[in-house]
Symmetry: D2
Subunit: 302 residues, 4 copies
């Protein structure tokens, strides 16, 4: 259970106080504010603040008061045009601030996205909670045989049990020893900044993460993708639902052009045109490597 | 006059519509929203949106739900501590979006601050307005004799008149010719993206500029400084007033530690300690160059 | 003539002194170093320094000493894989430093790419040269009728002559007055930081620009594109030739996947698959807007 | 022992091949290239490449060919001037690429510096080595009593032994189980991306890290500081030695103005001036909080 009664009371208090503002507001986001969207076994995503809406994107694209830009074009069309032509700056005019609780190994992937603002819970300064990510049985996957960086079939029987037991026992023991080393009961007590090194990568941390919509879309394209590791993908999917409520027009364009869109190489485009003219094209005549051809076929065959 | 009646009507409309929100609001900023703060002869700064307040800085520093961080310390003290020790990430949790109208040569200085989001009025796409910055007589300064990069005394008499006349006539003529080249009246009409090259650097442009508080403070430290060029300093000063209303505790700390603070070198610190012990120190015994010694004396003498 | 005899002598001196290094070197880049590649009427691009080569990209991808990564795959294949799957960080391991001389209106577009290091010639501090970009007759284009942001046919006859005359005369007069205002001959002399505001956007400036290969590719994708303004495109094209000599494998992948590649939306992909199955698809049955359908047809028809 | 014989052979091979270049070279850095500077019990820092030298900073500041900038001033003086006045862009013209091996909890602090390029060894893709940081006995410190975020006295006797034993045993067991879960011997074998979650934060990782000199100085100011955690400070100190050999003038200025320099608030400066005029100032009459006064006294008393 990721949210304690105390935390829930705090959330209720935050949601209880409404104020007047002249800024743009989005009812769909007001409904999300402060609430914890549960992810994995102890994680969550909470929207703490947001700036802008679909209109803010349009407004930035038109740069207020500009004359030549008053072409008759509706907002959805303009937003689709911006997305299609990689005009990224108008999407940067929207900003979101999140509170995220997540396992450390997920946090380490997440932080590779550098264009964001982060304040993480400090294990130098504070003591981490006894909370560890233990995969659900249906996520306990074997190493992929095709892909060095992927998962294969789900582990079964004794092997699955043994893995779960090891993960649980090692986490528990590591945390017991963490507390034992920190304890000042009859001893000096190890410094927090040192004791934390005993904790495994499935321990939960938390942070405030603030990012603009363009960079959030970039994050979602990579992390909500089918090839992303499951444990970060579930965070990305939770965020997709939030973004769809925040900027519905931009999110629809993102789904069409980024999540559902594909990139073809010059070589792939040439093959495609030949196929549309009725020519038979195979890997040999495509000029592609085996891997590229497989990916190309997957795209056009669906 | 920077604001036309149409624009004022638009501002009034934006200010006329109040909504409910669960987000943090700042009454002082609500009062600023959309209004045009006039700067120079045709420029302005308008607050279009903001995210966060002093509490958001504190909250990020404490990272919500952290235990070790619940030390009894009031918000002002914590914010001063963060500023003093260069903890910049909590200040990044606040964000502001501005609409700015400014001469091109000011925009060129401004844009050197790269950590911000910008959407500028496009002169490839649209036609610029006939508005040029002409310095007020008390800002028509001579080249400094001491400083390659500074101003000396104010120009006077005929020279001042001649300069103002040249600036005015050249601006007017450049714009007349811009329009003449663009005109499709009895001719093809030059492309906008080419015609704009005839306009001088005192023509006004405008943009949306969105930045986090940490980077805004960095901008203000450099641009509200006495050594900044007057024409950008007046924008920075207008922004200082806005920020003081937005995050009063953070702004007070910024004034004390950054704007009013000084940096001493190891060498300067050594001199200072010797002086406090009663020793006479001069340039020779300081180990400093003439320039450094002059700057050091200015700091300690006030 | 962009390069003066003095400058050429300086370049010759820089090219005359060879040193030993243990770092990666690229013969093709050594041949470029310091030389001025002329662009437009007075501009140039010079390579001042570079870091890394194709192997540095491969090495970063494999992160030296890693075991699982020793799969047998040649460098070209790995680089193509990285480009195809948007793995951008290995390309960031290469860096280039350029000296560029360019008109101010081109510099203003260029600087919108924020992830780079820049040191520009300061017109607050120094006096700009009397050099202005005047388009060649075949680049004196009319405003496009289809596209607010594009060029149409080349201007002809009297109109062309008049435009060229206006551009030349206004530049000359603006510079004459710039000098007149600056002059300290019998007068105080206006501050440089003010006098520069009289100069039009076709005056040349120069800067050092340092960028990593990933961000350079992003710049080239946008600025070497057929829709980019001609005056920045010629700089991008000059850089493409440099990059092809620097990292030939990466550049070939960039050409195939980025410059020559295309992006299809989910909707476009669906149409394509239907067409490959023999179905007739037109705008109505595509679900696309007129603009999207036009762009889609252009892609598949070639 | 951080470097295996194989790795040493690779380093020797890299150092064995010298090439000609027209680029700036620094003999002091050529001596560092590829060599492993050992840090902690299994870590290292290796210089893989560098761009620029002290002259590159000067050259960027003067922006080649600029007239007004030819003031007679030697390189050391100009570099000191730039550092003193926070002119950061010339320092950005130098770049360094490092190969670093470091414990994960150090990597997590390090990566908070976002303005750099990183390629880290992937534990999704590859298998991590059995190497863990175990503090030397003189670094096994108790939690500070004054400072939530610091270390107190060194642990002694039985407590020290117990802590070391726990850290060693838990690391060993975690790695044994990591291998056991990964094993495909008579079982499917858990996916690498999952198995890694069992490893504690003292396991070693490695990365390529590329950064410009300005941002490296910022990193060093924070991480070579006495308040930084020991385990990252030793990396920063190793880097300080490298940088001193790379750009000796810039490093000397950095030492004087940043590492050895101090920041005084407006309030602190006021107190200082009063003291220099002979006035007795204490905390009460200073207007400072207890904490600020303590820090102020530490600065001026030395």
């Amino acid at each position: 259970m990721p949210i304690t009664p105390d935390q829930q009371a705090e959330i209720d208090a935050q949601r209880g106080e409404s104020r007047q503002t002249l800024r743009a507001t989005v009812p769909g986001m007001e409904a999300h504010l402060y609430k914890a969207h549960e992810v994995l076994d102890h994680g969550f995503v909470r929207v703490i603040d947001y700036m802008g809406d679909d209109s803010a994107i349009v407004q930035a694209a038109r740069v207020s008061y500009g004359r030549g830009t008053k072409a008759v074009q509706n907002d959805a069309g303009l937003i689709r045009y911006l997305m299609r032509h990689w005009h990224s700056t108008p999407f940067e005019m929207c900003e979101i601030k999140l509170h995220v609780k997540l396992p450390v190994f997920v946090a380490r992937q997440w932080i590779r996205h550098r264009t964001a603002n982060v304040n993480e819970y400090s294990a130098r300064y504070s003591i981490l909670d006894r909370e560890f990510y233990i995969p659900a049985p249906d996520q306990l996957a074997a190493q992929s045989k095709q892909n060095n960086q992927g998962r294969g079939a789900v582990l079964e029987g004794e092997e699955a049990e043994r893995v779960l037991r090891l993960l649980r026992e090692d986490s528990t023991r590591a945390y017991d020893h963490y507390e034992e080393m920190l304890s000042q009961d009859g001893q000096q007590g190890l410094a927090r900044e040192l004791a934390r090194m005993n904790l495994p990568a499935n321990v939960y941390t938390q942070w405030y993460w603030k990012v603009d919509l363009h960079n959030l879309f970039h994050f979602l394209r990579l992390r909500a993708d089918a090839h992303a590791q499951y444990e970060i993908r579930v965070y990305a999917e939770a965020l997709c639902e939030v973004v769809a409520d925040w900027v519905p027009l931009a999110y629809a364009a993102f789904e069409d052009y980024r999540m559902g869109g594909v990139q073809l190489s010059a070589r792939g485009l040439d093959c495609l045109r030949r196929m549309l003219r009725g020519e038979e094209v195979n890997q040999d005549s495509s000029g592609m490597s085996a891997g590229e051809w497989r990916e190309f076929k997957a795209i056009i065959d669906g």
